[in-house]
Amino acid sequence: MTLAVRVIPCLDVDAGRVVKGINFQQLRDAGDPVELARTYDAEGADELTFLDISASHEGRATTMEIVSRTAEEVFIPLTVGGGISSVDDVDRLLRAGADKIAVNTAAIHRPQLVAEIAERFGNQVLVLSVDARRVAEGSSAGTPSGFEVTTHGGRKSAGLDAVEWAARAAELGAGEILLNSMDADGTQDGFDLELIRLVRREVSIPVIASGGAGRVEHFPPAVDAGADAVLAASVFHFGTLRVREVKQALADAGHPVR
């Protein structure tokens, strides 16, 4: 009778196509998010996240079609993030078939957006995505927790303490925190456990750990540090790890999985 740790593959989608290389041999079209979503579902993924990185209006419209097709074929929760800046954006995505939406930069610019979305659709639809980065010790830009919020893929500082921002967003009505370590992201050296611990201590909503997964043994410590769910992109896309292997590693470490 315990909630299972969720294992969540994330797909970067640009104008309706999956970016980053994929070498699942059974796929007829490795760039089709719907087919990839079906594959992850069959492998036991607990949820899916689409990150829309389309730069154009047309690109985002195409992603909307992809969301609809996925919702019609894959019966696990689907979160869509990327470029969401208004309540209307959220409404369109939910109607298209998304179950949750992830907001990031727009909420930093206008925190009230979090409250507006939560009020209209409930906090369960709202994932606050935080791109956190360690602040160099002794830096003038120091933050109380030692972690700051970044935008533009980690290139710009938002001038916010990452842990405080997560706590504030939870108060405003976020239903979940997607905590992405910009330091660990892409290293495949493991999750930033200190970051997870600090945010876990300050919020009572679920925390999804993201960034740094490279091997199956990286996942159980993230859960020990307080993550309710673990998210990864490239290790799943490239077939380095399979969802089932990650779940087995979690189960072996004593964590409940589906």
Binding site: M1, T2, L3, A4, R6, D41, D46, S68, A71, E72, E73, F75, I76, P77, D91, L94, R95, A96, G97, A98, D99, E119, R120, F121, G122, N123, Q124, V125, G175, E176, S204, I205, P206, D228, A229, R258
Partner: protein
């Protein structure tokens, strides 16, 4: 004969998954708030996400509470999902504000008392003996996402009435209603339409019972 199901359209949110999931369970599905269609269907599915008060307001706006009541008076099946289950109870309490529900069952929908809320993810359930809804899937996990729940089941029955079958779930030390099977009225706190194969089996069980 293919069973006809109406998914009640009374607000925003993801209804596409519910429609598709019930279609996959073998029914012919219409998404509408039309009273006659809702009355004529073999089964009425009442979805619901978000706040109790907002859902109840949306439901009243299409007179959904009357559709539910009339169907039940005629012994016609209704399935409530998530907040669509919660609004079947007497009332909901959110941030200290009480909202009247459909009052098909006594009980209060109140905030969960657990270290991490919302209760979000795949959880096991305690299924009572004789459940038709959970036949063959008693040990599966289902997808929950909610911050409120019904923590006391208070409906009194006697030896002349059939006691409803109540399925429970637990999260962070709190225990709450996960599903109810009560004659024509069925409800789940979790989302069968988001619960993969287990959810599909549950919806098939429901459609087959229509």
């Amino acid at each position: 004969m293919t069973k006809k199901v109406v998914v009640l359209d009374y607000g925003s949110g993801n209804l596409r998954s519910a429609v598709r999931a019930v279609e996959r369970a073998g029914a012919e599905v219409t998404l509408t708030a039309d009273r006659q269609a809702a009355q004529d269907a073999d089964g009425l599915l009442v979805p619901g996400v978000g706040a109790f008060a907002a859902c109840m307001a949306g439901l009243r706006a299409v007179r959904g509470h009357e559709m539910i009541g009339r169907r039940l008076a005629g012994g016609r099946p209704v399935l409530g999902i998530c907040v669509g289950m919660q609004i079947l109870f007497e009332r909901g309490v959110e941030h200290g504000v009480e909202t009247e529900g459909c009052d098909e069952w006594p009980g209060v929908v109140e905030r969960l008392q657990a270290p991490v809320v919302p209760h979000m993810g795949w959880n096991t359930v305690e299924v009572p003996a004789g459940s038709r809804l959970f036949a063959g899937i008693e040990d599966e996990r289902f997808y929950f996402v909610h911050s409120y729940g019904v923590r006391d089941w208070t409906l009194q029955t006697n030896d002349r009435t059939v006691a409803p079958l109540v399925t429970w779930a637990e999260h962070g030390g709190d225990r709450f209603v996960a599903a109810v099977e009560n004659g024509p009225l069925t409800a789940t706190q979790f989302h069968p339409e988001k619960s993969g194969d287990a959810g599909a089996a549950l919806l098939r069980n429901w459609v087959e019972s229509l």
